[in-house]
Symmetry: D2
């Protein structure tokens, strides 16, 4: 099954579902005091269950691995070697992931991509591997999983045409 | 409930769920020979059940109605009166709707927005009302409902790490 | 001219070009030690010179003002009164602004939208006015102006097919 | 220079600037009767001059070529071999290109991606090469170049706060 494949690919690259769930928990805890880590893991798995997320992960991780094996044509190989800050294809792919639960996730994505919380920091410090795409994709998955929790909260407001 | 509200708002503006389902059927029939109109209606209702779609509809329809009542501040009132072709906020809102089932929907959205099939054509010909936002949002909803059908097709390919 | 109009509309809502430039300066200073506030103001004005940015500003500010005048139809009026956290149309409009200089701006946008630096904080604390859209749009403009500075830096890498 | 590199890469994959300009001409001719092919070529070159467009092209073409050389890890290799219709990363990358001149380009992008006009059709019929990314990127570049022409038209409306 594709979701198990996505999970095992992430793990092989050093990212567990529970590590992503930790980030989600940090983002959402203050808004949802009863939130559990298990609920965050569920939400991450729901995101990983989406085919478009899986396909994006397959693509980004393939590019990271090909860069490690130095199999990318130039100038892409050099751009990835230097984690060129003006290269925005990683953010573009992450947008495709984050937007699946609506654009409210863009804020969390940008924040995580800047602050590099949890496993995103670990990926960023790892000098032996290339994670140009993976750090953004993990931020995008965590942002999407956070949006999903926000949308599913039974306490979330529901609006009708009447105002009372 | 918000979905019923979204449906009744659309109806009040001349767009029924079945009219959107007709567009979806035209888009998807050749790829899914067993597709029924009822399945298309289900898919449209699933899209309308998403909070972010409802909120976007509330916003776009409000702008259309305020333009009709001439309550918008200038220069927005003039821009909407002339359905200014360089105004892209309607496409931006539609992107937010379409992307909910992944970016594969962008193709259908653009095609519908250009070809103006079915009720999108009717909206476009209606000289008595302002539908600057609604025609794009209907195209976005139809595109998202089409993507949803494509993703849910039990015949859709599933990829694992083995190639056989 | 439309740019002057955009500037004066922002000012009327409490946001000066130099206040946005201050945010850009805070974001970019560490990457560009020679950066001046004047260069940041130039960059903000270049962003405001784009028609799609102006049109998005006209739309977002109109919605904020109509909410203040209580002229929006329900349930949109209630959603804006409560600055409903699941309402994502403001982020969607900001994406349209930010993406004009490429998706690298998404990170800055999300960070600013979360951390609420400078005038974004002021807008957020203002209890007398509605700034549901404006705070996101200012973050989007600042993010785009930052991307523009990064792209225009003469020290930015240029890649050719040769790697030396 | 990176733009020449982008141009020569496109040419090596069977796409000339003038072939993209032909598509732009077909899209824009009816709105701009004085439009020349030379102006369309200029506009395509302006799009190719943007770093984010170049970087996206380098990435998409690399993925196409690696698929041809069968160097992609599974399951990505199989997904690209079959030009899997539910794979949306190509549309996501194209969005990054198209949005550079605002979201009005989404309509043209979707239309071109569906109708496969000119060289997009040729790429699609080419059974000897893999063009999963290139056909979408060419559609995205043509859509962006069309938006640019529309924005630069001296006859385009300009709105001020006065309505006369």
């Amino acid at each position: 099954m594709s979701m198990e494949l996505a999970e095992s690919m992430l793990l092989e690259r050093g990212v567990s579902v529970s590590a992503i769930a930790d980030i989600v928990f940090q983002l959402q805890q203050k808004y949802h005091p009863d939130l559990t880590l298990a609920a965050c893991e569920n939400s991450v798995r729901a995101v990983l269950g989406k085919r478009e997320v899986q396909y994006t992960l397959f693509t980004g991780i393939a590019l990271d691995k090909l860069a490690e094996s130095r199999l990318l044509p130039e100038p892409l190989q050099s751009i990835m070697d230097q984690d060129e800050p003006l290269y925005g294809v990683d953010e573009t792919l992450a947008l495709g992931v984050t937007s699946i639960y609506g654009m409210i996730g863009l804020t969390s994505f940008g924040y995580l991509d800047k602050e590099k919380i949890g496993v995103i920091h670990t990926l960023n410090e790892d000098r032996k591997s290339v994670h140009v795409f993976l750090d953004d994709l993990v931020a995008g998955i965590a942002a999407a999983a956070s949006s999903r929790i926000a949308h599913n909260d039974p306490g979330a407001a529901s609006y009708t045409s009447s105002t009372d």
